[in-house]
């Protein structure tokens, strides 16, 4: 990804900003410029380039040029990112009382919310996990708790650790009836 080449005036060194220094009573005249080193001909190319080619990387300039809206920029970035994402990570998912389990690709999900949505749909239920709010209590008859077996063989409730950490430690999932 390239970045904006010409840095802003304000990110240039303090010398040229003191050149900008106001003398509020001066009248406007053609040829007025911010750099004292400007030649008589204000259109001489090298002068512009030396004013503007101060290549101080100003980090907050990076995303405001060119002026495309975030949706289009995001799409442009997605195209570049998606080139290599064909990895999968299937884990087994069992629901209590049902002998035949399912398999689910964890890497096809963005995070916990996405995963819960898929499981809700797959098993036609409402899943309880560690980030639930009180509103699900109305459906307590059809609720299940989502747990996972980690690398150490312990059964833990889903949702307590960051998603990436979860991915690195989960071995399989189990959906049990709510206590």
């Amino acid at each position: 990804m390239g970045k904006a080449r010409a840095a802003s005036c304000s990110s240039s060194s303090t010398e040229s900003s003191t050149q900008i220094r106001r003398n509020l009573s001066t009248d406007l005249r053609l040829g007025l410029s911010i750099s004292a080193s400007q030649q008589d001909d204000p259109f001489s190319l090298p002068s512009y380039l030396c004013i503007f080619n101060v290549s101080v990387g100003d980090d907050d300039q990076a995303s405001d040029w060119p002026p495309t809206k975030p949706l289009i920029m995001r799409r442009a970035l997605e195209e570049e990112e998606n080139e290599g994402s064909s990895a999968t990570f299937f884990v087994k998912v069992y629901m209590e009382g049902i002998p035949i389990g399912r398999k689910l690709d964890l890497l096809a999900h963005d995070g916990y919310h996405d995963l819960i949505r898929t499981l809700d749909y797959m098993f036609s239920t409402n899943i309880i996990w560690s980030e639930m709010d009180g509103s699900v209590s109305a459906y307590s008859e059809t609720c299940h708790v989502l747990t996972y077996e980690d690398k150490e063989g312990d059964w833990m409730m889903v949702g307590d650790v960051p998603w990436e950490m979860f991915l690195s430690t989960v071995r399989r999932l189990k959906i049990t009836r709510a206590m």
């Binding site: 303090t14 005249r29 410029s33 911010i34 495309t68 809206k69």
Partner: protein, 581 residues
């Protein structure tokens, strides 16, 4: 006989034929009684800057309004220049309107922060609410939408154009009651996650007046045919993802469904396009007037095939994959074209990835006699091309050119593009909106100040050499309302010399320019009816007065400084000391 002796209801009836805000404002200035009559029968207000007036004042003056349109953040917020938390909150307006406009029917918001609380308040308090348009808004989730769906019994339009909506899992679409049959327009294209397809389908089936349906990316292509068959009366359609396994049965089903939609005039969506499925829409192309392919990664040959079948096309938004060859085909076929937007597929690349140059735009300007609105991203331009375009299309109203590398000169002569843009403003006498790019000196601003008398909005970046440039614009552009500038060497002189001009404009944005903090203070003190706001996230601007101000937003207002400024925004007016940080 005096006009003021006409009975009030006769005058009111006459005024009802006058819709334009400007004309209404003129009417209200004729005399006191006309002012009174007019204000009681004004039904629609447009507030271009939500901080220019307070909701209380608006409601007090116009008590019987049915439709309100508000805009919040400055335009450059679209390009990440306005930090999070800057403002633009709609809640105070909604709270005021819940009491003051109980019969409000329409609310259209742009670049505002809308919360679920605001949406819930609308749903609860406005019993006749019909139209909600949230354009480039943020701050709300599908919980708020659920409230609107559930409680607005007469909802006709719900449009979430390019808004940033949080999507906790929740089936908000199914909150539309079975009794809701009034929907005319639904645009959920910006929603990130899945909506319940069965709820969507049931909604579509029971709303026979549905004319506009813009789906989000999550709706699979296989299901689109099904929806279309339930709503063959659609005039505007946004597809979901336009990709599926290549199967003849899916294709024929889709093509059949499209051919049943005899009223379709507008198409959009087309995420993840599989080109083999494009011919499914060919049957509707002959009637299409609007085609939005901003997200469609379709290469030029397929684009040419598509566009060549749309002779009635008036508006095309497309990625630069269309290339010069595609624009040539467009110019040959679409003689009714009014608006063209070409977006960059790789805005951050250093090298051009497509063969799109100034030639494409020149060809369209030659071939399309009704062309009046252009937004064009490209990598090279010449004065000759701009002069040709200007002479071809003197009826141009909006011309926005973005040459991707800042300060790119005329690629043929290496000169600045002053003459080219000068020709644009000279020939296009009705030009209302202009965006500049490329290498530009003060001379282009001299042309603009001299010729662009109808110009209302000007966007400038990396241009000019001195305050003279800004002075030309502020002193010459009689119709100027909005001016936005980034990275230009404009400083205090022009700003202070034209302080009075700023009160005739809606707003001025300047970032990364050379305006001093002292000048801002002076301006703020001199002009009590302007809010002079300095945005600086690194600390109080008066602590480093030798540095130019980073971001400056100046707007006229009748309500004084706003009370919701975050810690990084300073209002530098008045004699009172700055807020302590």
């Amino acid at each position: 006989m005096s006009y003021s002796s006409l009975p009030e209801d006769v005058l009111e009836h006459v005024f009802s034929f006058v819709q334009s805000d400007k004309d209404r404002n003129v009417i209200s200035l004729v005399c006191k009684s006309w002012y009174e009559i007019e204000r009681w029968c004004r039904r629609r207000i447009f507030v271009g800057n939500c901080y220019a007036v307070s909701p209380r004042m608006a409601i007090r003056r116009f008590p019987e309004v049915r439709s309100v349109e508000l805009k919040g953040k400055p335009h450059f917020a679209d390009f990440n220049l306005v930090p999070e938390g800057w403002g633009g909150y709609v809640y105070p307006w909604i709270r005021a309107m819940a009491g003051g406009y109980p019969w409000l029917e329409e609310l259209k918001l742009k670049r505002m922060v809308v919360t679920d609380e605001s949406l819930e308040l609308i749903a609860k308090s406005l019993k006749n609410f019909k139209v909600l348009v949230l354009s480039s808004c943020e701050g709300f989730s599908t919980h708020g939408l659920a409230a609107i769906a559930a409680d607005c019994k007469n909802l006709k339009e719900l449009d979430l154009w390019e808004s940033d909506v949080e999507d906790p899992s929740g089936n908000w679409l199914s909150k539309f009651p079975d009794t809701c049959t009034s929907l005319v327009s639904l645009n959920i294209a910006c929603l990130g996650s899945e909506v319940s397809f069965s709820a969507l389908e049931r909604l579509v089936v029971r709303c026979p007046n549905l004319r506009t349906l813009r789906l989000n990316r999550a709706v699979p292509l296989e299901k689109l045919a099904h929806l279309l068959r339930q709503a063959p009366q659609l005039v505007e359609l946004g597809t979901g993802t336009y990709s599926a396994d290549l199967r003849p049965d899916i294709f024929s089903n889709l093509a059949g469904a499209f051919s049943g939609c005899k009223e379709l005039k507008s198409l959009s969506g087309f995420w993840d396009v599989v080109p083999a499925y494009l011919p499914a829409v060919y049957s509707v192309c002959s009637g299409l007037t609007t085609l939005n392919l901003s997200y469609a990664t379709i290469q030029s040959p397929d684009l040419i095939k598509l566009v060549s079948q749309c002779p009635k096309l008036q508006c095309l938004w497309v990625l630069d994959y269309i290339e010069d060859s595609g624009l040539e085909a467009l110019a040959a076929t679409c003689k009714d074209l009014r608006e063209l937007r070409v977006f960059p597929s790789e805005p951050f690349g250093d090298e051009p990835n497509v063969s799109l140059t100034e030639q494409g735009l020149v060809l369209v300007s030659e071939g399309c006699p009704k062309l009046e609105s252009v937004l064009y991203f490209c990598r090279r331009m010449s004065n000759d091309a701009l002069v040709t375009i200007a002479k071809n299309r003197p009826s141009m109203i909006r011309f926005r050119l973005c040459i991707i590398d800042p300060q790119t000169p005329d690629y043929l002569t290496l000169e600045p593009l002053d003459v080219g843009f000068g020709a644009i403003v000279q020939h296009c006498k009705d030009l209302r909106r202009l965006s500049l790019s490329g290498l530009l000196t003060d001379r282009v601003f001299e042309y603009i100040g001299t010729y662009a008398k109808k110009l209302e909005m000007l966007s400038v970046a990396f241009a000019g050499e001195s305050d003279l440039g800004l002075h030309h614009v502020l002193s010459g552009c009689d119709s100027l309302r909005k001016l936005e500038i980034m990275d230009c060497p404009f400083g205090d002189k022009a700003l202070l010399a034209n302080a009075a001009k700023l009160e005739t404009m809606r707003s001025l944005w300047m970032s990364s320019c050379s305006v001093s903090f002292e000048a801002c203070k002076l301006l703020g003190q001199k002009m009590p009816r302007l809010n002079v706001e300095v945005i600086d996230e690194s600390g109080p601007p008066d602590s480093r007065p030798e540095l130019p101000v980073k971001k400056l937003y100046i707007y006229r207002t009748v309500t004084g400084r706003r009370i919701d400024m975050p810690g990084f925004v300073w209002n530098v007016g008045e004699d009172s000391a700055l807020r302590l940080s």
